[in-house]
Symmetry: C2
Subunit: 213 residues, 2 copies
């Protein structure tokens, strides 16, 4: 049985769970907070990050690495484009979205969602404004410019769409939604991805786990 | 003709150039400093990072994404393990080394090599000591624990070895070498990788470009 170490609410855990759900693969979730300092967990993942996948003797960290492995090992329901150049672009979008885009979205989520709830602190609105007004717009303009006029990047729903959207689920929990006037194609993509059955199922589980459901 | 946008001295550009050299692929290098603010370059790479690969109509950022694409598009001389689990581990090592490991090595390189030369500033030795004494050792212990008793991670030289070593070429320029008493297997790996013809050729070009040659 595949094991996923992590917790609901992480954009990276969510990406892996949706990939598993999309592929119809069963798994067991092992609760693990990120950066917990747990030395046993660091034997699985030296960075203490989540998620980590365990598949038999293979232990893999990083959502990008995990999703590529799942595609390679369980190809029956493909979640990556078949075309080589499109697959490479999907890989690029995953790196782009999991790095700087996710970091900015996590900044909004941490300040407005985590700080009040977990630390009884006020959010740093100056930091949030810097993200929303200065740092995010160039990345959102790039995404908007990459999207086709309708729906998904490569025709059908794939990892490339999911990776761009998952950080904005967190931003949305924190009250930030991508403006559909400024970024109509990306706002429509986010809605389309949220409507995918595999996504809706995992988001429903997540809402329960986070106490919204 | 493949085009690589970047400059010598970046651990990530080096990784791509060595991959091309190993595979015997011709390429043209287009000089591009990272984070230059050059708006034309941002059309190729929205983050302004280097390297960027252009192959016909395909434009890819990020060394990890580029190397995986080169393996997929030009498989004649393989630079990744053939075994699926080993390939996934190579992918994990690439993510691990290109993220936190490269960041720490870059800290040493920036402080001790770039600051004095490019900015006529003294290095921040407190910051360097924090990297060398506190932040790097857990990652070096992890690497040491992953390595087999002799030579390469997966039998023959592969991307997995190269990605672990390339950040330490920069650290070495800055006077930091991995201690062979504390980390004998990793120190031996670094020497072995440096001795690979593809690596030695690119390092010789790099030394000339950086004014050592």
């Amino acid at each position: 049985m595949l094991k996923v170490h992590g917790v609901h609410g992480s954009p990276f855990v969510r990406k892996v769970l949706i990939t598993l759900e999309f592929k119809g693969l069963g798994y067991e979730m092992v609760t693990q907070m990120p950066f917990s300092g747990d030395e046993d967990y660091k034997k699985l993942n030296p960075l203490g990050k989540i998620p980590t996948l365990v598949d038999g003797n293979l232990t893999l960290g990083d959502s990008k690495v995990i999703c590529r492995y799942l595609e390679s090992a369980y190809p029956e329901v493909p979640f990556y484009p078949a075309d080589q150049a499109e697959k490479a672009m999907a890989d690029w979008y995953d790196d782009f979205a999991s790095g700087p885009v996710a970091e900015l979205a996590a900044g909004i989520f941490f300040q407005r969602f985590m700080r009040p709830r977990a630390f009884q602190q006020e959010p740093d609105e100056v930091l949030i404004a810097n993200i929303i007004d200065k740092k995010l717009p160039p990345l959102l303009r790039y995404i908007e410019g990459q999207l086709p006029s309708e729906a998904y990047l490569f025709g059908v729903f794939s990892i490339a769409d999911l990776t761009l959207v998952t950080p904005f689920v967190n931003a949305s929990y924190a009250g930030y939604d991508v403006c559909s006037d400024a970024y109509p194609k990306f706002a429509a993509l986010i809605e389309a991805v949220r409507g995918e059955p595999a996504v809706a199922n995992i988001l429903a589980n997540e809402a329960k786990a986070l106490g919204f459901g």
